[in-house]
Symmetry: C2
Subunit: 436 residues, 2 copies
């Protein structure tokens, strides 16, 4: 059979990895697919100087629009990233009847609805396995592998940079800023680390997972997002004393009141498998009503792991060429007319447990006073840690773990405690999930 | 669209779970598939007394051949288990143009070749996700999700009974026979536990994974199989002292000399994620050249977890109804004409590291004598543990960890050591893998 012609937009880290994997594993891919897949047109900046591809066989251009309008191209692989240009290119590719494979989580999370509609109208595929958790085939697992289930919740470590920082803080007692600097030197974190450490990248991915799990529209703007930049080594240590580890999780859950969608630092019991996922690795825990808990672990970023997902999507896309619309796996997992508009809960309405740390004057009665406030708001305290103060210091750390309650109740109790003269500054609050 | 008609063979644990999940999640399945799926004909012993299905809507029979020849049935789901009758029924179903979904690992591992050929000739699908690791979508991950990779190796905890026994032995210091009895009472192990504890069940599953990973024929008879019935609490304890846990692993690996396919107890470093998979849970670690290590975790057995995989296969199968042969995912992952006959290595030719425990007379020079034998055979010793003998006892346990070498070298060294007067009986040998 004729070779499938792929047009590649971007030849940076992931683009280079994709080209490398497609060339190295060309035989293996053909053994699976029954026909060859070739990169035939590539757009990138300074593309003439690239060394991965044989320039005598592949058209090279700095103008990505040449690729998406090239009549020879069957599949456009978008690896440029960002919103504006990427969206324009993807929409133009679809308009020209090209199938699209992308690793762009920001694009899918924010413009996915419009892109999917255009693709369905045109009868082309849009594949985005690489957009969530890199090389882990998590989209395939949720969309196909667990299709028999009502998904109850998903909790994932879906940003490797954040997990690297939290792992180093715990293992070596290092501070956040110190580890962040190293992550930047190692190339794990961008010069502007906001997307990673403030949870925006994770929120993009969680938005996609929530849509696939529950058959709701992509609603990035409704995802509650809290970063890890305020986590201190003290909190990491106290969490350890209590038998927990702090991970930056994306959590989505279906409840009777609506769907939760939230990214925040989270204490989880150290004996849970996902609590032991360290360094830059990602893992996603999916709970289905029939299957129970399942976990998917692997590299969430990097050239070849991401390429692994991109190329798997290319293979799937080739298999979909002649499929009729009814037989295809729906782009977002559910048939378009079966999407629902279950409300996304505001964070105040979500039920969570919490780890609280306050700095209190070391004098009798403070613990009683604080406990009384929580009792008044009907918040149960599950554990308390208070060490003797250091010599010559008149302040102590008071650490409490609450049971699950609606967040606004806890907000009110915390505001009241913060008003006490015996409590210094703000109460540190980190959510806690048992993931049982 | 018309409802898809499913015929169910067997209404035991998994059959009952499948019926329950299909009824409970019928809406969710239809939201994904765009058409309803109905169980319309069921065969089982004492079927008239079953209470899950509405007998006024579903044909019930004790004769499974009625189901596989029923002209109304689109998909036959074989959940009877075993080899002979199951094979006859599956072949008859294919002959009658039915698609087949099965959870039967023994059937696929031993008769898969013949079944797949018949299915391809007839243009029907044979789906078997539930045959390996229950609810974990591992076949989809290896066959599709990681299709861009050259798989280098797979190592899996793929028998929940064995993992439950080893977990209890480690956590509670209990003996093998004691825990096995409990596993039987809990329904985790059969009255005849041979298939589980002697590794035959795991070997069936590993045979399937090896075929999918490397594009080789199913060759169950070439899988090296060793059970866990000889593991003692002493070995569990010594392994712990050395920083390892003992797990019953199925391992398949491609080397320059051939493919390894082996099931045996294995020491693995305790910090590996898979070392922390406890109780009846399963996990499969897959190493691809592009993606690196990925791990898939979940329930490997049980009514609804297995049903989760069976029903996902039904959904996939419905989507394949109108696909042409070229566009389908090949039944064994690779196009039939791209299968290779890479040799399977005999265990003597496989390179492994090992944990060795010998009972030695407590007198000077024994360690030196033993060490000399290993040195003579060019086997490097990586660690040694020897405690002081208990009071009044003149025997000590000498524990050694070797570096990787071809097994027949170690066989020879062990035979020599066992010949020493100062060494009692047999040397205990458990393989060791770093899985790095």
């Amino acid at each position: 059979m004729n070779a499938v012609k792929v047009g590649l937009l971007g030849l940076g880290t992931v683009g280079g990895g994709t080209a490398t994997v497609m060339l190295r594993n060309a035989d293996e891919i053909q053994r699976r697919l029954g026909r060859p897949v070739e990169i035939s047109h590539v757009a990138g900046l300074g593309i003439a100087d690239q060394t991965i591809l044989d320039a005598s066989k592949v058209k090279l251009t700095e103008d990505a629009f040449e690729v998406v309008t090239d009549p020879e191209i069957d599949i456009v692989v978008e690896l440029i990233g960002g919103y504006t240009l990427a969206k324009e290119l993807v929409m133009k590719a679809i308009e020209n009847g090209k199938h699209v494979v992308t690793a762009n989580k920001a694009l899918i999370a924010t413009h996915g609805q419009e892109i999917m509609q255009a693709a369905m109208a045109k009868g082309v595929n849009v594949a985005y396995e690489a957009s969530v958790a890199g090389g882990i085939p998590i989209i395939k697992a949720v969309r196909e592998g667990l299709a028999a289930n009502q998904i109850e919740w998903i909790a994932g470590i879906i940003n490797g940079t954040g997990n690297f920082i939290l792992t180093e803080m715990r293992d070596k007692g290092r501070g956040f800023d110190d580890v962040l600097k190293e992550a930047q030197q190692l190339g794990y974190a961008e010069a502007d680390p906001t997307f990673d450490v403030e949870g925006i990248d994770a929120a993009h991915k969680l938005t996609i997972l929530a849509s696939l799990a529950f058959g709701i529209e992509l609603q990035f703007d409704k995802c509650y997002t809290e970063g890890i930049s305020k986590i201190t080594t003290e909190d990491v240590t106290y969490a350890g004393e209590l038998g927990y580890r702090i991970k930056h999780l994306g959590i989505t859950r279906k409840t009777d009141k609506g769907i939760e969608m939230r990214v925040h630092p989270t204490l989880i019991p150290e004996k849970r498998l996902i609590a032991n996922v360290d360094g830059v690795m990602n893992a996603v825990l999916v709970y289905g009503d029939a299957v129970g808990p399942t976990l998917y672990y692997g590299a969430g970023a990097g050239a070849e792991p991401t390429a692994s997902a991109v190329v798997a999507d290319i293979i799937d896309t080739v298999r979909s060429f002649d499929e009729d619309a009814d037989s295809k796996v729906p782009l977002m997992g559910f048939k378009p007319d079966a999407m629902v508009d279950t409300p996304i809960l505001a964070i105040e309405e979500v039920e969570t447990a919490a780890y609280l740390r306050m700095t209190a004057l070391d004098k009798p009665g403070v613990l009683a006073e604080v406990s009384e406030v929580f009792a008044k708001h009907n918040i149960s305290i599950e554990a308390v840690v208070q060490h003797e103060p250091a010599e010559g210091v008149d302040r102590v750390h008071l650490v409490m773990v609450t049971q699950k309650d609606i967040e606004k109740n806890l907000d009110n109790a915390i505001a009241e405690v913060e008003g006490f003269d015996e409590i210094d500054g703000k109460v540190v609050r980190i959510r806690l999930e048992h993931l049982g």
